[in-house]
Symmetry: C2
Subunit: 209 residues, 2 copies
Amino acid sequence: MIDPDDMSRLAQYSHRLAVMAGKTFIQEGEPANDFFIVTSGHVKIFALMPDGRRQITGFAQSGDFLGLASGATYGFSAEALGPLALCRFSRTGLNILKREFPDIEHRLMEEASRELVQAQKRMLLLGRKTARERLASFLLEQHHRSPTREIVINLPMSRTGIADYLGLTIETVSRTLNALQREKLIAITQVTQITLLNLPALETLARGG
Amino acid sequence: MIDPDDMSRLAQYSHRLAVMAGKTFIQEGEPANDFFIVTSGHVKIFALMPDGRRQITGFAQSGDFLGLASGATYGFSAEALGPLALCRFSRTGLNILKREFPDIEHRLMEEASRELVQAQKRMLLLGRKTARERLASFLLEQHHRSPTREIVINLPMSRTGIADYLGLTIETVSRTLNALQREKLIAITQVTQITLLNLPALETLARGG
DNA sequence: CGTTCGTTTGAGCCCCCTCAACTGATGTGG
DNA sequence: CCACATCAGTTGAGGGGGCTCAAACGAACG
C-alpha cells in the first residue's frame, strides 16, 4: 500500500498506463518483466485451467502492488474490473524505487503479510467449508470491508464472480443465497444488494458451528 | 529464508527454544506477541474449525519465518512435525533484527512472495480441482521438491496429513491413490513410498487437461 | 416489442463424504 | 512365542451436497 502523496512522485520512475474495463492486462504464463502499482480502480486476480475453470484468488485496488510475487513468468492473470490506472515498472526498476522510497520494502512486506493471512483464511474456506458457510463468510467479508459497517451490502461482482471467488457454480451461489433468505438470515433486496438480517447467525455459520 | 551462517549470530537477540515432536506451539487466536525463525526441523501450519475440520495451509522448515503475518492474534496454528529448534523474538525485537541484518526486510519479502505464489496455486487446487487432479498435483510437488528429482517419492506425511493438505478425506486419498496405481500412473511401493511411472500423464492430469 | 445477457429454478446425476467393517503392521504382556 | 490390543490404511455400501444440463424468468437496451 502506497500513500496517495507518494503516487505522484512515483510517476517519474514509471510509465503511466490506462486500462479499459474488462481488459486482462496480466496473462498467466507470460514473461514477468514488469510489475505494477494500481493508482485507481479495481483489479481481479485469478488463475485459469485449460478447460476454463477459473479461481479468483483476490482483488487489488488503489495503492496495491501487482506482479512482484512472480518468478520468471506471471503465476496469475489480472483483469481490470472498471477503468483502471496503473504505474508500470521494469523489474530492474525496483532498485530505483527502493532508493527513492527507503521504506518501500517495509510497506511491501506489510502488504504481503496481510495478503498471506487472507490467503490462509481462503484456503480453509475453499478446502473445508460448505457452500452455505462460504456464502456466509463472503457476505461478512463484504460487510467488514464496508467503511460504514452498514448491514446493507452492495455486491461488488456478479454471480459468476462470486462463484469463481468461492469455488462454486453460479447455480449453487443463487440457490444458496435464496436458501439463506428463506431462513431469514439475509434479504435479497436487489440482485446485487443484500441486507444482513441476522449477523450473529451468519457469523456462527461462517466459522462452521 | 536466513543463511545458516547468520543463524548463530541471531541467537544473541532471541531466546532459543526446543519443541517436542507433535507439540502445537502456536495456537490460532492467541495473542501474537512473538514471532519465530525455524533453525531446525519441520513445521505444519494449519487452521481449525470448531467441529474439527482441519486445513493445512503450508509447511515451514529451517530458515523460515513464522508468525510475522499475524495481526493482534495468530491467524493459524503451528505444530512441530519432528523435534524442532526455534528462535523466538518479541514482536518489538524485529527492529533490533532489522538493524543487525539490514537486508532482512528484503529476505522477508522474498519469502513472502514465494509463499504468496504457492498460496495462489493452492487456492486453485482447493477451489477447482478434482481429487485425482489434487493428488497428481501433490505428487508432482513432492517430486519437484526432491533435490535429486528422483521418481521415487517418500511421502513426508500420513494419509491424514495428505487429506488435510488437499481438502479431502483419508478415504478419498486412499481410493484415489489406488486408482492412479491401477491406471499405471504410479506404483505404491510402500505405504509412504510412491514411484511415479508416467510423469507426462501426471502433469496433464495435475493441470486439469 | 424482440434480443440479449445475467439470474433463477428444476431435474437428474456423480463425485466425494460418511459410516462401517476389514486388513495389516507394530507393540505389549503373559 | 503367541494372544491380544492398537492404530494407520484399505475397502465397501450408501447417501448427499454440489455440479451438469436445460428451461424459464427478468431487466436492460435497441
